[in-house]
């Protein structure tokens, strides 16, 4: 039972979406709508699961007084503060006339979003710019034909996609200018390579999906 039912659910849900593609008639069209709605709701619970697991882990850390327990405390405080702000703002919004949303400008939730969430999430990825630069200097080497071609192509794209490329090559005829090189590179060789990768990945996806639906692949149901 513990094994069979999930396999049946996987099969039914998967096949419903495949059949829906070919059969427009009721009830297949209806199945697809119901499953899409369910998917949206289950997805929300899946995110909740992630957040609640994080809370559980942090609480365990604090109760066990493991070495970085103050960090866990910070996590919990921040989690609760934005959740409470969002809940209150949302609840007030329901009673307002006309109704307002918890993420409207001026709410506490929006304040946290603008001044805490946005700078932190943006900066987390922004610091990568520094690492790209240092890797350019210290690691990216034309050590073989493949890497050489890659770096040449990168060169044309990097210089051709910003106006400085045309500034430097402005003396050349229109079709020889660097932006034109970059356009050509993107439109043709890049498309070709991307397409080969795309078709390859698509077939890989088809075979993985097929294995999952037929229960040949069941690693997701273990553990």
């Amino acid at each position: 039972m513990k094994r069979e039912i999930p396999l049946i659910i996987t099969f039914v849900a998967g096949v419903a979406f495949v059949l829906q593609y070919f059969i427009p008639h009721y009830p297949f069209s209806r199945f697809e709508n119901i499953f899409s709605d369910w998917f949206a709701i289950v997805g929300a619970f899946a995110i909740w699961l992630g957040a609640l697991s994080l809370m559980k882990l942090s609480l365990l850390n604090i109760s066990k007084k493991s070495h970085d327990w103050p960090i866990s405390l910070v996590i919990i405080i921040c989690f609760l503060s934005i959740v409470i702000a969002g809940a209150i703002d949302g609840y007030h919004g329901l009673n307002n006339v006309p109704a307002t949303s918890f993420r409207d400008p001026g709410t506490n939730f929006d304040w946290l979003y603008q001044n805490v969430y946005t700078p932190l999430s943006s900066t987390m990825f922004a610091i990568l710019a520094f690492f790209v630069a240092s890797a350019s200097y210290r690691a990216f080497r034309a050590r073989n034909t493949a890497a050489t071609l890659l770096l040449f192509s990168a060169f044309f794209v990097m210089i051709g996609r910003v106006p400085v490329g045309d500034y430097l090559s402005g003396w050349l005829p229109e079709r020889m200018q660097l932006s034109h090189w970059a356009n050509w590179l993107m439109a043709f060789p890049n498309t070709a390579g991307q397409r080969a990768v795309m078709i390859g990945i698509a077939l890989g996806t088809v075979s993985t999906s097929l294995r999952i639906m037929l229960g040949i692949e069941r690693s997701h149901l273990e553990g």
Binding site: P6, I9, T10, F11, V12, A13, G14, F17, V18, F35, W38, F39, A40, I41, A44, F45, A46, I47, W48, I71, S72, V74, I75, I76, C78, S81, I82, G86, A87, G90, F102, R103, L112, Y113, Q114, N115, V116, Y117, P119, L120, T123, A126, I127, A129, A146, L149, L150, S153, A154, V157, F188, N190, G193, R195, A196, V197, G200, I212, H220, L221
Partner: protein, 211 residues
Amino acid sequence: MDSALIGTWLAALLTLGIMSFIYKDNLYYKVCEAIFIGISAGYWFITYFWDSLYRKAWVGIVHQGDYILLGGVILGAMMLTRLFGKIGWIARWPLAFIVGATAGLKMMVYFTTNAMAQVHGTVNDMMAAFSGGDLYDLIGRLVILIGTVTGLIYFYFSKEHKGVFGGVAKVGTWFLMITFGASFGYTVMSRMSLLLGRIDFLLTDWLKLVK
């Protein structure tokens, strides 16, 4: 002090805190990171609550009597059993649903749009370029055809890369490398843009050095 000013200073301090990582992994960074983890988990939690669970499920079931949505809620609630060790196996049901539905939809969309339509596009464009169009376009389309075919041959694992076949696969790798080079250039562009956004914030909104 108004809340906007406090907000800007807070945002600036948090920005600098994360940036301090490039000097060295330190406590300031660790605290900022913890704030980020907590805030973003809470952000997702409450957003999904209002947008999906309230607006879609609660209102749908209670106000509009769309009881079929209850199926989704039950499956979703099963998901949360993961938090309670012993009955955690129940969570496999909704997981099976998610994995199955995704597999079914992905199988169709990838097979049609990313495989068949790409083959169609390659052939169709080539034909169009043959029958009319300038030399520039013809060469470009030919490049796409050769690149796609040789690239696919590189990813063909059932034959050893020897002789003519090996040569063709080699051409395929060249195309792939040019493609990866383009991605490389674009990724560098993206990373610089992100940092640019933060520097703009620090200079314009916080220090007000630039308009």
